[in-house]
């Protein structure tokens, strides 16, 4: 275990966390402001990837494909919000879970009907095609682009939420939805805006992930689970919580997957360590979430 390896894995963890932040920011706002559990957030991530891949197939330009992915997903989000989500705000959480789970199945089938069951692929932008040298190890430069985009978006979100009027309204609605409503804020418009913003961010996450992962039906579910863990750990309704929570989960997951097996091999007998480490590493972030919920149930940053 060399310093180079530790540095490389920390970079991995941070870029993974930043990608997860793009997903969590939208979901935490929806849950915090509209008090609505939205399980189909992962499907928005999937739509972002699919729309980008489809647009790339037509135009062969990553920038146009990215724009198509983000804007397209935002439009999908707004349509879903108007047609389905707005009817769910007053319903119980179970109804919301059932309805949005149904939407997951719906979108999984829609992409299969439109684009077929085989996975699509998105080409890596030529600028980032060659691996670079990071402290002596090969590293894909595209990951730094993901990191950069994520940090920029985090900065822009910070400015939006803390330095603009819209941001004040969003923060107020997140802290006390009922009071905000009675102060005369156009709640329908606010909900549409927040959901649309969340969808755009999820779409952006999907676009950024598309050159790295296989684009196929059901690709949103693993990310959704991690996102839910993050917003619970970070604190529901808090974008700051989503940011730090995402970074923590990203780093803990990456470090857990890579260094925990080494640690276990020192402590336990070899074959036993092998059998146990795979299971324990996949549990590491859930254990973290459980500890946070036990010690500070409202989340770390709320």
């Amino acid at each position: 275990m060399t310093t180079a390896l530790v540095i490389a894995q920390l970079v991995n963890g941070v870029q993974f966390g930043v990608l997860l932040f793009l997903m969590s920011a939208g979901l935490t706002l929806v849950l915090g402001i509209m008090n609505c559990i939205n399980l189909m957030h992962g499907s928005l991530y999937m739509m972002g990837a699919y729309l980008a891949a489809a647009a790339y197939g037509q135009t062969h330009s990553f920038l146009i494909a990215a724009a198509a992915g983000v804007l397209g997903t935002m439009m999908v989000g707004v349509v879903v919000e108007r047609l389905v989500m707005s009817r769910l705000y007053s319903r119980s959480h179970l109804d919301q879970v059932l309805a949005t789970f149904g939407l997951i199945l719906f979108f999984n089938e829609v992409v299969r009907i439109v684009w077929g069951p085989a996975a699509l692929s998105m080409e890596m932008p030529r600028l980032f095609a060659q691996p670079i040298d990071l402290v002596g190890l090969p590293y894909p430069p595209y990951r730094f682009a993901v990191l950069g985009v994520g940090v920029l978006v985090a900065g822009a979100l910070y400015l939006l939420i803390h330095k603009t009027r819209t941001g004040i309204v969003i923060r107020a609605a997140s802290a006390n939805p009922a009071m905000t409503r009675s102060l005369g804020v156009n709640v329908k418009l606010l909900n549409m805006l927040v959901f649309g913003l969340g969808a755009a961010l999820a779409g952006l996450a999907g676009v950024m992930a598309s050159p790295i992962v296989a684009i196929q039906s059901g690709m949103g579910e693993p990310i959704l689970i991690l996102t839910l863990v993050i917003i619970v750990t970070g604190g529901i309704g808090s974008v700051r919580g989503a940011f730090y929570g995402a970074l923590i989960v990203g780093v803990v997951d990456t470090v857990g997957r890579t260094f925990l097996p080494m640690l276990l091999r020192q402590l336990l007998e070899h074959s036993y360590a092998q059998a146990v480490s795979a299971t324990i590493t996949s549990m590491s972030i859930y254990v973290l979430m459980a500890i946070v919920l036990a010690v500070r149930p409202q989340g770390l940053f709320r």
Binding site: L5, A119, S121, L137, R143, I215, P222
Partner: protein, 392 residues
């Protein structure tokens, strides 16, 4: 007699004659096809169906000279649903033969319910080790392969190529563990590390960084489906394909090359069939498939095409009388058909005795990304579990 009576008598005679006539004609043999036809893995089941039907349609809807009715069912990769489907096929439709079966977990669920009713199970993809060994049944015939054989072949290949330090990776489930165990049975060098990743994990950058730091001579992995696409793509993005040879199973076959394209060039794959195998049956199969589907056939289609040929040869041998089970079983075991793999024989557990090839992803003569056979580490190989099959 009145006209109406004569008319009634005439109609009755015509009907009786017609009924007698159809009693002579062969009722179509019903064959149940159970495969994964929806969801992310749909391409596998779909190609099994495509390969099977290619042969049936080529023969005018007949197998062995007898018309067949293929009942197509989607198991959706749910073993409990597969069990319900086969029960329906056996009890309601009274099928004598069930074919297809894409995934191992489905096969494990249905093998006993099907074979204990005396229904013939002609599996054309899944070949889990328990049914190759202690749980084998004389009613099962597998035209694909036993997965461990590929791993064992790769172990020998790694020895031949002089790879002294190999890094192993697989998803954390039974098939992954079995597969890596198979490699370790024949490989004689040093195992640098054996890493099990989460199922459906999308991003392997952390694990690949470890691999790059460990700098082994080769990496051996089992990553089917989307996991394979993600792994190979990210392996390529780190520039490792040229530096550290990647020996893989399930990651670069017909189901994933469509998504990977050039990113997979140079990666190795284990197989029992390749589109470049040089025999008449294969050339005909590949040509017909390409004409109909405008792409290179996958191994799933090839295995299923062979299943159709096998059933056809057996039905011909028993002259359509599939209800004579001992005769039909003997006819199937004879495996007297021109396989797209060349010579074809069954072992005692009714798994094939066949060559195990190592292929490399390369462009074919038409510039398409395909698989090129580069080595044959095992010839006429009987799988390791056959010795444990005692009942056949």
């Amino acid at each position: 007699m009145r006209v109406s009576t004569i008319f009634a008598a005439a109609v009755s005679i015509v009907i009786a004659a017609a009924a007698a006539g159809t009693a002579q004609a062969q009722a179509p043999v019903k064959i149940g096809f159970v495969g994964v036809l929806s969801g992310p893995q749909a391409l596998l089941g779909q190609d099994q169906y495509n390969g099977f039907m290619l042969f049936v349609e080529h023969n005018g809807g007949k197998l062995g000279g007898v018309p067949v009715e293929i009942l197509k069912e989607d198991s959706q990769l749910k073993p409990e649903l597969a069990v319900q489907i086969v029960q329906k096929l056996i009890e309601k439709e009274q099928v004598p033969i069930i074919t297809g079966v894409t995934f191992s977990n489905e096969m494990m669920a249905i093998q006993k319910p099907v074979t204990e009713k005396g229904v013939f199970l002609i599996g054309s993809n899944a070949g889990p080790s328990p049914i190759a060994g202690p749980l084998c049944s004389p009613y099962q015939f597998i035209t694909s392969f036993q997965l461990d054989s590929m791993a064992e072949g790769f172990g020998l290949f790694a020895n031949d190529k002089g790879y002294k330090r190999v890094y192993l990776m697989a998803p954390n489930y039974q098939a992954g563990k079995d597969f890596l165990a198979g490699f370790k049975r024949t490989y004689k060098g040093e195992i640098v590390d054996e890493v099990y990743t989460a199922m459906e994990q999308p991003d392997y950058l952390a694990e690949l960084t470890q691999v790059a730091a460990a700098a082994p001579d080769a990496v051996f992995v089992f990553y089917p489906g989307a996991m394979g696409i993600n792994f190979v793509r990210q392996y390529n993005q780190l520039g490792l394909i040229k530096k550290i040879p990647l020996l893989s199973q399930g990651a670069v076959d017909g189901s994933t090359l469509g998504a990977l394209q050039d990113a997979a060039l140079g990666v190795y794959n284990g197989a029992v069939w390749g589109p470049d195998l040089d025999n008449a049956a294969n050339r005909q199969f590949v040509d017909e498939f390409e004409k109909k589907y405008h792409r290179i056939p996958t191994m799933f289609a090839a295995q299923s095409y062979d299943a159709a040929q096998l059933i056809s040869s057996a039905i011909a041998k028993v002259k359509g009388n599939v209800s004579d089970k001992p005769a039909f079983m003997a006819a199937l075991a004879a495996a007297d058909f021109p396989s797209v793999r060349g010579d074809f024989k069954f072992a005692n557990n009714h798994f094939p005795i066949q060559n195990i090839y190592v292929q490399q992803v390369a462009k074919d003569a038409k510039g398409r990304v395909s698989l090129e056979t580069v080595a044959t580490p095992l010839k006429n190989y009987r799988d390791t579990y056959a010795a444990r099959c005692k009942s056949n």
